[in-house]
Subunit: 470 residues, 2 copies
């Protein structure tokens, strides 16, 4: 909007689209030598609805800020003794990371990816090969001097994956080769830009690189987009679109074979049209190594995120000397797709914490079940059930406090555990449980075995009781 | 044995205990200015059996050397472009790492551990708090200069876990608190000492720290030892013992409360006696922060390893200011157990590769099933089965080559896949498979569904068909 004033007179704003918001002190012209003034903040929108909507979403956003929820939910801590932008993950946050990684591992297995694991440091020269040095040096951590030369923390996983590709002679029969790693990278972000989990210096990426022939690119891109769709459906994200960054008029500025570039752009566009996710394309914003697709997603509080960046790479194969032999035994350079549908653990966890307001679907919840015996007479039964749940790898806890029943239920709500199992006399004598979902009043009594069967299916299918039937 | 000669005359060695072994050229007195001589190597033992046993084990050790098996099996590569002692793990090696981590995660969940995740770098001061700087500096990578101060790659996970402990006020009710992480650490080993996966500079540790009261130490130590036993049974390791390192005569040299030290030693010894694993104790070899238990294991080729080091830590709680409030609300320092039953991925994978000679039990095998259609007429059926196996997350591949049946079976053996499924006319018409285990001649025909049920149970139970019945 730029500097104000935005209207000649506040009379121009219709009454019901306007609201006074907050007060703050401010020095005249920003200098503490001047007088202190009272600053009055106000909100003005084009319609009453827009004003209302903004206020609702802002309240939700404040309540759901992942740093705020973190205070009680203990997902992570950023400890000054370790360093800025370097979260340490508590058990609750680690569960979410690991469940996301398990999800990705399964989906990627089904899609024919293979997992690799690479070190966090490397010799300097690798980044000269990739071209990240010297141009990207400001975003990298400074080097260590090891054995008389420089070593760097990796700012991305690609060069390591390229070395794995290059470690063996490759044939067209092996392509597409899809190498996946949830790899932790380190980037030197300016300390003023660091913010909770959203902007960090250590980031664990849902990374993979697909090495394929030009003929396979379109199909592979379609599969990558479909993988995104499966994830968005799972998380109940309905509001997403893509942003396609293309070269200026042709790729000549970026790459010495403009016809290859043009064909690559055409393939990506074909793939996008076929999948049918809405997108906007922007000429002149491609990375130097190929056209780029960003997935933009907004969650329930309206926060828009670049949730993932996907890149067709026409350059690195040549730089790294990556080849395969085609059917005629001719050596060719593969095309490379860089993709990371779940982005980084840090950003995506923050996004999901806010999206769910800390109340996760059962499969993803740090604690999946809290058992509430209504009196101490039922503690034994409660502990028996907890033991049974744990033996099935269900993350459960039991409230053995002497708090009143009402307090236990309230504590259950505060803890945001999605499932409460209430146990009283009837449940204990029958071998049943009374099941209450977070945020609902409904209580269903059912046999413990029936509960187990239903609940294990819910976890296995990664259902969300709020958006899917079991 | 020192320099020879070890006998006055070779006539002293009985004939059947002696064997000429190999030849090599050597310059007289080691100088290339002198004449080239022929060096003759021989072996001599005290008995013919000992000689024979040595030769058998040596042959096995050479054949099973993890670096040798790596040539065909592609577990990892150490690429000079990345750096010395920094393996990149191929898909085959990554499967083994991840299956081991999954095993540990499950066992630790059942034992009440909680997982955390911490960064690989940290500010200098943390290692002054821990006492690793300056004394351990030679084993650490040199620092990076970040924001005007030094940051280090972590050489161990403990300080980060201690910070997680310290991030909240702790009550006796939370103890024992068991924080686990398969954390990657970096240690600067001299380049001359690096050897395959056995001695590396990047190591991923099966780490955990148990924070507990003095009353809980014995029970916790027993549980840690029992966890080791479960692992050894799983891997068919029968030859293991412990080495207990104690303070000199009392702990005064190490710690300012000798009676606490003495009691800690007594508790550890009680725990060891109770579990009944054989051990030897050595006075004067404790670490400065408490008594230490090493698990020594030897595998089928007779290689003895310190498979894991466990440590009772009486010092770090105080250094880090870790406390809990006891029943009377008195602030006390917890005792800390450091434990890593599976050691590091690097050493333990090397150990297992050699232990199994590259033929892993089904649950741990990089490829679990190879499908061999005996002719192209059965390719469709083969592909159908492979698809079904993959959808159940069974790592499978199908041999669609035009090789002869005999060659396909031989290739199956070379690839060391533990299970071959042979498909011919009868299998295709019946919906059955003929199942052959690696290294056996026996072939069993059974319905595909029956195979699936049996095989999934084998994987779930982590059975080894060579040592356990299904």
């Amino acid at each position: 909007m730029g500097e104000g004033p935005h209207v000649e007179s506040t009379a121009e704003i219709p009454k019901n689209c306007f609201s006074l918001d907050s007060l703050a002190g401010a020095y005249w012209k920003g200098s503490e030598k001047n007088k202190m003034l009272q600053r009055v903040y106000g909100l003005a929108f084009e319609s009453q609805e827009a004003l209302k909507d903004f206020k609702v979403k802002r309240k939700m956003a404040m309540e759901r800020d992942h740093r705020k929820l973190n205070i009680d939910q203990h997902y992570f801590v950023i400890d000054e003794e370790v360093g800025k932008g370097l979260p340490l993950w508590f058990p609750n946050g680690t569960v979410i990371r690991e469940e996301l990684e398990k999800l990705a591992k399964e989906q990627e297995f089904l899609d024919g990816y293979e997992r690799v694991s690479t070190p966090h440091i490397t010799r300097e020269n690798l980044y000269h090969t990739s071209g990240h040095l010297p141009y990207y040096a400001d975003s990298m951590f400074p080097p260590m001097e090891v054995d008389g030369e420089k070593m760097f923390l990796k700012p991305m996983n690609c060069p390591h994956h390229h070395l794995i590709y290059r470690s063996q002679p490759r044939s067209y029969r092996e392509l597409p080769l899809r190498l996946a790693e949830y790899g932790t990278c380190y980037r030197y972000e300016q300390s003023g830009e660091l913010a909770g989990l959203l902007r960090v210096r250590g980031l664990t990426m849902n990374d993979a690189h697909i090495y394929c022939t030009a003929e396979q690119v379109k199909e592979e891109f379609i599969r990558v987009m479909q993988l995104h769709l499966r994830y968005y459906e799972l998380f109940g994200l309905e509001n997403f679109w893509m942003r396609l960054s293309l070269a200026e008029s042709d790729g000549a500025k970026y790459f010495n074979e403009p016809e290859v570039w043009a064909r690559a752009e055409a393939l990506v566009i074909e793939a996008m049209d076929e999948v049918g996710i809405p997108y906007e394309s922007v000429r002149g914003e491609a990375a130097f190594y190929g056209p780029k697709i960003d997935f933009q997603v907004s969650n329930v509080i309206g926060r828009e995120e670049t949730a993932s960046t996907n890149q067709l790479d026409l350059v690195m194969a040549e730089r790294f000397g990556l080849t395969y032999r085609d059917q005629e035994s001719v050596e060719r350079a593969p095309m490379i797709i860089h993709r990371a549908p779940l982005g980084t653990h840090e950003r995506f966890c923050a996004f999901l914490i806010e999206h769910y307001g800390g109340v996760f679907p059962s499969w993803l919840a740090p604690v999946q079940v809290r058992i509430i015996p209504v009196a101490s007479a039922f503690f034994d039964y409660a502990e028996k059930l907890e033991k049974e749940l744990k033996s099935r790898f269900i993350r459960s806890q039991v409230d053995l406090s002497t708090d009143s029943f009402g307090k236990k239920i309230r504590n259950g709500a505060v803890s945001k555990v999605p499932n409460l199992l209430i146990l009283g006399e009837q449940e204990t004598s029958e071998g049943s449980v009374t099941w209450q979902r977070y945020g609902t009043k409904e209580r269903i009594k059912l046999g413990f075995d029936t509960f187990l069967t239903q609940f294990e299916a819910e976890i296995r299918n990664r259902s969300d009781w709020r958006i899917t039937a079991n």
